[in-house]
Symmetry: C2
Subunit: 740 residues, 2 copies
């Protein structure tokens, strides 16, 4: 019992340890050889561009967040005010706390994004420098640079939720506090939405714009210094893949922590009533699990090593498996220590904690499943990518048709895996036999929360692998740009290919975690609605009933569900068109420079990189507004006009639709990308056995598919992850507004 | 009161009148000039190919249907057997009746498809012949040929449901019979699934295969007689657009008739209890409305006329508006006569029938809204198509990106229109103040049924406009192929452009009607499940509760919803890949003929058209099996393993997702098609004002988009309409299997 109480200290300890370890890794990366002057020059230019964009983007986001925080605080104060007379927190205090939590969530998300990206744009040139002599060192530099982001995101999310919880009285009244900190998740979602949209639009507009003028119109290679958009393209890798995905997963972990804690409140009630030891353990459990996940990841970073002639993917996988194994051990310890139910036992005499340990393992297994499913669909060795490459022989149209078919197909295993994880963890949780005062089972739904926590124990490692992607991509660009000596470009190309895979994996992982997080938050939403309705009933309101179901067969709920599904398509349409518009602005500028500065093609004039970076920055910030506003306004309008049950319908159907569409866009895009790489690596042959490589019609067709996939997989798809969670946190915070 | 009873005779009278009118139109079309011998030769070849395919396809479908009918009859007998002891229909009798209804539904659907297509392949050459001298006559021949399909589909569906209803004792026990005829809807869905899949795969495989070898590889024009796949392509227009869409809308009308009648049963109960006159009117109402719709359409066919220099679209629109206006009048009469509630009145003292008349008007307005929304998104005069054409200037990749963005965007107005129609008709229906014995409102949901019936009053006319499409498309092919004299090709080109618009409109209409039909059937499903559960409770079962909600927040229902959404993407993937595989077989054969018969290019050898038709037929029939099986097996597996509430979750979320995805595929495909036509008509200009027409890079890019859109809009999209309704009828029939 002492242990169950003491183990909670792992939360701040692991959080601070992870921050310190991130600082150690950052120092280690910064102390490495930054390469030749030419390399440092390019890296410096990328650095300046990235910082300029992030500064303006995050300033915009911070201003928007400030406005929203005030509005949320006022609205909650006014709406919740009269209804909370019988709790010890007044409406105004609740509004203030929600607004403060929102701002802290937003600030933590921004801080982890900014610092992570800062290190990433320093790690790229050092990776390129290391690649001149050693593959293993290059892998380590890139991975450590990426791990800075990974640790900061998870640790700041954990520390933020924990300090909010403690500040808002969670140690005294553990069952009330989780509802007070939902604003933190909303703040994180809000930042993530604009960080991902802005970054995603930036990176793909620069990519498409630079390719269309440079490669297609002028016939110069990728990353050629004569292309005025090349620096913007390299900046884009950082602001999109690195800062964007960091904000995405920051939001996931924050939302899941809060959602799981709210579900833990129900078990807390059972534990208090039954007199189980340390009832608050059920609420703290998610945070402790997360702490152990961080510790496991710290250890595993040291296992990223190997031989010079080894496949770099193996080195990363080694660390991943260490993280997974240590996480399983951590899970065993935490469930055993924290989930004591006195003498009560679950089904077959097996204690409750062991059933929940099973739920956690289901989550870890789901994480592994997604890593391999994504590999199957997006790596060149398997049927889907080969099919697309084969279809390229008959031109771009058949390439697009085949890629679309593959993208659609990937929903199959995705939905089955998520569905199986939910059903299995729900079943295992039910075996723990946790019944509330009315005899309703609580263990099943709590089991899904434990599975979610299990899945997210590896987040920091997955995110490190993800950020490995843009760092190595940048390293390749720098090596090409600065004509680095040795086999640098060959090594960075190998790392880049691995980075493409890890970026795809992370998206699969992010989708699965988004759907599980959203599912937790639906239940938190219903709990919160019933809290408010219960107060109204207690205050003597007649004709008010508790919400027992989200009945999609009712007309308003069905209509709202239809609108939720529509929102995911419409939002994606806006995101995709935003890339097109921003790319258009870049194309005009790059063409102008080629036309008005004829010396560029002869290397006698230096293109004005900064101007393109500036144009891209302004275009991306302008274009991120429309989809962002639609994403926020739609659920509010539906909730206010059609009510709280309709809002839940929008939320749930929108989540399902968003998860499926994001899967299609991410995996379709990844498969197109790798079909092009498959052809470039000389693996496609015609009927006579001749290799169909670069400069063939098949390759040209594959380039079309790759270009189409770019805004799908790097703008719309990842933005949908964020949208799914935003819908959940937004409805959770604004629930009082939807109750009439 | 006498009138309310007598008006029911309009059902057989209008049904038979429509069949007789279809025969008159068929005779009229067949009596027209079939053109020159050359034209008749081509038409004869198309006719043979179409008949050969339809014979083999419908033989396959008939065999499958026979097997399924037996299985359904046996399963229902066994499962429903013990549970129906307290009704006067035994389980075996119920099984037999369901099996028979299934077969009758299947047979009626096949009959209307076969006869309609038979006339369509006779009307094509007569349209081409008429086009040599008169635009107006050509429009009339094509429209009358199309109307044969339109009338037969709606009339046979109406007569079939009515005779089943009468045969199964509907006149004596009106409240029991609707549940006995749900097999009819399932039979129609079953045929529609395979008719649409097989026809859709056939038409697009032939189209893609013929274009890739003919236009791309050999550089010969479309419909060139040297292309061995040209006849298969022309056959495809008939078997896909004509037979497929006919089966689709046959299923819609049958499913909506039955779903609306089942909802009418609830009002019947109220009417009997309250002693209102002619309570059975509430059950017959949907069929009577349909009858009036048929009569309105018969009149309107004579309004398809105009001046030789008029836009042919105007002539068709004239008839459409006459149908709509007459339908509104018919609706006023029917609601007034059939919806008498004695002295009871609705809100504000306005009688119930007037509120329901409002619901019907909402349905008619929705029909009009979809006609115009589809035009906006897929016709060349508006922003979406122009955007795609503009994007073609920078190549195929930007064309595809722009088209995808437009396709996604079209979900916006679609979802809002369907949602608004449901919410508004539900609200108006509630004002009628129909409360059941427990005080629950029944009028709201019945109002949505009335709106659906209102929307579908114009089905016969819409379907005639749809079949106008393949007839004029064929007429153009015949004119080109047989080098028809006069301005025949110019006139058929104008008609073809109008036909593209009407085909797109019909798809929009079919989507809206599919979603409304599905919504009726959800409610019928819940009614049926509760009927079975009620019997179990009455028989003394404990721990059984009536189904009050489809709660998507429960884990099994959520997981099933995820699988439902996934099914729509996965099914589309299979359908799209089927086109690719079948097209591959055609490409190989056409290339072989060009290679082994060198005289073809010099017109000295005649290509072996029949062989390509035969290969396409076999490929289409082979490839339709996998998606068909997935569509049928998935809901059964989910229902049996996860139960009846999960099956409802799959059904509802699958419907929403299917409707959205079909919208994307249909409208995206239509917009790509018309962006190509926009460029071909010389409306796209470069910055200097020069026209970018055929043979430019922009046109080549637009051709890629058009080819990508083909399997989207003509195979996967329309098959999704059918899938949505199949899910509904299948779960409705097999509901007993899902109840444990």
């Amino acid at each position: 019992m002492q242990i169950a109480s003491a183990i909670q200290w792992i939360i701040p300890i692991a959080g601070i340890a992870a921050v310190l370890f991130a600082m150690y890794l950052a120092r280690d990366v910064l102390s490495r050889d930054p390469g030749t002057q030419a390399m440092q020059d390019v890296a410096g230019t990328i650095y300046e561009g990235a910082v300029a964009f992030i500064r303006r983007q995050y300033l915009t986001i911070a201003l928007l967040a400030l406005v929203v925080a005030v509005v949320v605080a006022v609205v909650i104060s006014l709406v919740e005010g009269p209804a909370v007379a019988d709790t010890d927190v007044s409406g105004v205090a609740l509004g203030l706390r929600t607004g403060i939590a929102f701002l802290v969530g937003a600030a933590c998300s921004m801080a982890s994004g900014i610092i992570g990206m800062f290190i990433s744009v320093k790690a790229n040139v050092r990776t390129a420098a290391a690649a001149r002599s050693s593959l293993v060192t290059a892998v380590q530099v890139a991975m450590r640079g990426g791990a800075v982001s990974g640790f900061l995101v998870v640790a700041l999310s954990l520390l933020g939720v924990w300090s909010m919880f403690v500040l808002f009285g969670g140690l005294d009244k553990p069952s009330q506090a989780p509802f007070l900190i939902v604003g933190y998740g909303f703040g994180a979602s809000f930042v993530a939405l604009f960080a991902q949209l802005g970054g995603g639009i930036y990176t793909k507009a620069a990519d498409v714009g630079s390719d269309l003028v440079g490669k297609v119109e002028k016939g110069i290679p990728e990353d050629d210094p004569r292309n005025a958009a090349v620096i913007a393209d390299l900046v884009g890798d950082n602001v999109g893949d690195c800062a964007g995905r960091g904000a995405d997963l920051f939001e996931s972990t924050a939302a899941e922590n809060i959602g799981a804690m709210i579900l833990g409140v129900a078990v807390y009630g059972i534990a208090v009533a039954a007199g189980w030891p340390n009832p608050e353990s059920w609420i703290f459990f998610p945070l402790v699990v997360r702490g152990f996940g961080l510790l496991a990841t710290i250890v595993s970073i040291f296992f990223v090593r190997g031989r010079e002639d080894e496949d770099p993917m193996n080195m990363l996988n080694r660390g991943y498996w260490v993280t997974t194994a240590l996480s399983a051990v951590g899970l065993l310890i935490v469930t055993n220590v924290m989930m004591q139910t006195g003498t009560t036992s679950g089904a077959n005499g097996i204690p409750a904690w062991l059933w929940f340990f099973g739920c956690g393992l289901v989550g870890l297994a789901t994480s592994v499943a997604f890593v391999y499913i994504t590999q199957y669909y997006t790596a060149g060795a398997h049927r889907p990518v080969r099919d697309i490459a084969e279809a390229s022989k008959t031109g771009p149209a058949t390439n697009i048709i085949a890629g679309t078919a593959v993208g659609f197909e990937t929903t199959g295993l995705t939905a089955l895996s998520i569905g199986a994880a939910l059903l299995l963890s729900h079943f295992l949780g039910q075996q723990a036999h946790l019944l509330d005062a009315n005899g309703n089972d609580v263990g099943g739904i709590f089991g899904t929360a434990v599975a979610t926590m299990g899945m997210l124990m590896t987040t920091a490692y997955i995110l490190a692998m993800d950020t490995f992607g843009p760092i190595t991509d940048n390293a390749g660009g720098i090596a090409e740009f600065a004509k680095a000596e040795g086999g640098a470009r060959e090594i960075t190309d190998r790392l880049d290919a691995v980075g493409n895979t890890t970026k795809a994996l992370t998206k699969g992982y992010a989708i699965a975690s988004a759907s599980l997080a959203a599912f937790l938050l639906f239940n938190a939403y219903i709990d919160k609605v019933n809290l408010i309705l219960g107060r109204q009933i207690a205050a003597g309101a007649t004709n008010v009933h508790l919400m027992t179901a989200v009945n999609v067969d009712e007309v308003p709920v069905f209509a709202a569900g239809l609108i939720g599904a529509m929102l995911t398509f419409f939002f994606s349409s806006l995101a995709i068109r935003a890339v097109g518009k921003a790319a258009g602005a870049i194309i005009v500028e790059v063409r102008r420079q080629f036309r008005e500065m004829p010396g560029i093609m002869e290397y006698t004039q230096r293109p004005d990189y900064a101007r393109v970076v500036d144009i891209t920055t302004r275009a991306a910030l302008r274009e991120m507004i429309a989809p962002g506003v639609v994403a926020i306004a739609t659920p509010i309008i539906v909730g206010v006009t059609l009510g709280y049950e309709a809002a839940a319908g929008l939320l749930i159907v929108g989540t399902i639709s968003g998860v499926m569409l994001a899967t299609v866009l991410n995996n379709g895009g990844g498969a197109w990308d790798n079909a092009k790489k498959y052809i470039e690596s000389g693996q496609l042959k015609d009927d006579a056995g001749n290799v169909l490589g670069k400069k063939t019609d098949a390759h040209a067709a594959a380039v079309v598919g790759d270009t189409v996939g770019d805004p799908f997989k790097d703008t719309a798809g990842p933005s949908l992850h964020v949208l799914v969670k935003l819908l959940a946190t937004l409805t959770l915070v604004l629930a009082p507004l939807f109750i009439r």
